[in-house]
């Protein structure tokens, strides 16, 4: 019984190494390399010059990271305000034209959003929305909103109306019902939706480029010239930074949620 499991484990480990580990090896090595001629498997010498360049104030990396996160967080906040009532309506009611409403909200998952952005570009230009953060935020809403609605709908599905009625019977008004009953229950869905929304917003290159016209610089816009034929060491360092920010945002969201439930558990435990 024991040996087939060990065999399976080692096969899985090999698969993991080739699929997940190996692809990152050249990226990491290249970011700390100083000259890496073919056919050496390892760089000639190592240096942190690429990282020093990327992390220095003079390269403007931090203001770009700031812009990217600012856009991503505004988009997510707007999505949240739009998605909670929409998810409520879609899960709890059956009404005429519901399929049409769902089709409209989930259409940007199927139809590529850059089609709409290229179409609206000239109108944005006339309204003075190009080259502005506001314009980029507006462009990022349609690719992200459907995922937020979807995630919150899943949470609403498991929230019975009885719980709210119970709170109503105990004398809770609409606001305290929402804050104390509905919101805590929706939180995992909100966290999942927000993570997706941030991740998708962070990875938009084309629509940011069309609407931002190179004036609103986010991480993918900054990265592109480097990876399409620039200095490989700097390109690799930027790629790692970019991927790191995306992964950290997700992990951070996950940890915040866990922490919330721990506090909650502690609080109810005491009470």
């Amino acid at each position: 019984m024991k040996s087939p499991r060990r065999l399976l484990n080692s096969i899985l480990f090999l698969l993991l190494f080739f699929v997940i580990g190996l692809p990152f090896v050249p990226l990491i090595l290249s970011s700390v390399s100083f000259g890496w001629p073919w056919p050496n498997v390892l760089p000639d010498s190592f240096s942190f010059r690429a990282w020093e360049y990327v992390l220095a104030d003079s390269s403007g990396t931090w203001s770009v990271v700031g812009t990217s996160l600012l856009v991503a967080f505004i988009v997510t906040a707007v999505n949240l305000l739009l998605a909670v009532p929409a998810a409520n309506a879609l899960v709890r009611n059956s009404f005429r034209g519901k399929w049409l409403m769902e089709a409209i909200i989930f259409a940007p998952i199927v139809i590529p959003p850059f089609v709409a952005v290229m179409g609206i570009h000239l109108t944005f230009l006339r309204l003075g929305l190009t080259e502005t953060i506001l314009g980029v935020v507006l462009a990022h809403i349609s690719p992200t909103l459907p995922y937020m609605v979807r995630a919150i709908m899943i949470s609403y599905n498991t929230l019975s109306v009885d719980w709210e009625n119970q709170a109503r019977m105990l004398g809770a008004g609409p606001i305290s019902r929402f804050v104390h009953v509905v919101l805590p229950h929706l939180l995992p869905g909100i966290a999942a939706g927000a993570s997706l929304s941030i991740l998708i917003s962070l990875s938009q290159y084309l629509i940011t480029f069309i609407i931002g016209s190179g004036q609103v610089v986010t991480l993918p816009i900054l990265l592109f010239p480097f990876i399409s034929g620039g200095d490989p060491a700097v390109a690799s360092a930027y790629s790692l930074l970019y991927a790191g920010i995306a992964v950290l945002t997700l992990v951070g969201m996950d940890l915040a949620l866990k922490k919330y439930y721990q506090n909650k558990k502690a609080a109810t435990g005491k009470g």
Partner: protein, 294 residues
């Protein structure tokens, strides 16, 4: 009255935003693809952009390339994704610890990596002077840089296919894992009683159970790669280019006359994705993929 209008009022902000920003953009693009530019004094509708496209060989080559790359990417992602999921499932079956949970998390890493970074990872690995070529050369298997096949910025689109296979395999895995996790431990025991080994168990029980979700996941990857821009822009060649890149090239070519054609490519792309999306929707409803079985 309130009960009747309530859902519409709650939906209004989200629907309004999508209609204005998304469908407004689609409609705006459709009008301009028909040559309707009131700002330039063009108020007539004409099909020139579309007839020009259908007559140009560049458009057809672009369309064929897009289909080929999307098909190969989704098939590779499906095979790799299924291999990962089935091994994770077998590991879970044979162990009680939370180890499989950790494995599952690790395998999802490519999903969180931005597409451009994923593309660059493939560049560093597979370009002619890349990491694999260096390893093969050090092992004495190839002598010259040119002995390594051109897999990045190649006309066939191998670089794009490799990137999507790597990026989307965890997505396929994410879609089929919940279905597999509903296979009871007892089924395995029953199978063993009847003399089925691991391989028989996979072939007779695991594969049939995951088939509907697997097909749908593969199809979603197909629709996604069909209309994605970033990776083909980084890893493709200028000619022939995939449809979204072709549209971008036309849009930014500098001449205003190409813009209706770019927008016409977009409208065709949107129509094709709607068609493919409806197929996915129809089959996922029919096979009850999202809910599983009772």
């Amino acid at each position: 009255m309130w009960q009747k209008t309530r859902p519409y009022l709650l939906l209004l902000p989200a629907i309004g935003t999508i209609v204005l920003l998304f469908f407004g953009g689609l409609f705006d693009g459709l009008l301009k693809s028909l040559g309707y530019f009131p700002a330039l004094g063009e108020t007539r509708f004409e099909m020139t952009a579309y007839t020009n496209l259908f007559q140009s060989s560049e458009f057809w080559e672009s369309l064929i390339l897009t289909f080929r790359v999307a098909a190969l990417s989704s098939v590779f992602a499906a095979v790799l994704g299924a291999a990962i999921t089935v091994s994770l499932f077998m590991l879970k079956e044979s162990s009680k610890s939370g180890a499989s949970q950790v494995w599952h998390r690790l395998f999802q890493l490519p999903l969180t990596i931005p597409h451009l970074v994923g593309g660059y990872i493939i560049v560093l690995l597979f370009m002619q002077s890349g990491f694999l070529s260096k390893i093969l050369a050090s092992a004495g298997l190839i002598d010259e840089i040119t002995d390594f096949p051109v897999l990045v910025n190649d006309p066939f689109g191998w670089g794009i296919i490799l990137t999507y296979a790597w990026k989307e395999a965890p997505f396929v895995s994410l879609m089929i894992y919940p279905v597999l996790s509903r296979i009871h431990r007892s089924w395995r025991d029953v199978a063993r009683v009847y003399g089925a080994g691991s391989w028989n168990f996979i072939r007779e029980i695991v594969l049939p159970v995951m088939l509907p979700a697997w097909t749908i996941a593969t199809f979603i990857v197909f629709v996604f790669t069909f209309s994605a821009f970033e990776v083909p822009f980084l890893l493709g060649v200028t000619y022939p280019s995939m449809l979204p890149v072709y549209s971008y090239q036309l849009y930014t070519s500098g001449t205003l006359a190409d813009r209706p054609e770019a927008l016409a490519v977009n409208i065709i792309l949107a129509a094709l994705t709607i068609l493919l999306g409806l197929v996915v929707y129809y089959f996922s409803k029919r096979w009850n993929v999202l809910k599983g079985w009772d």
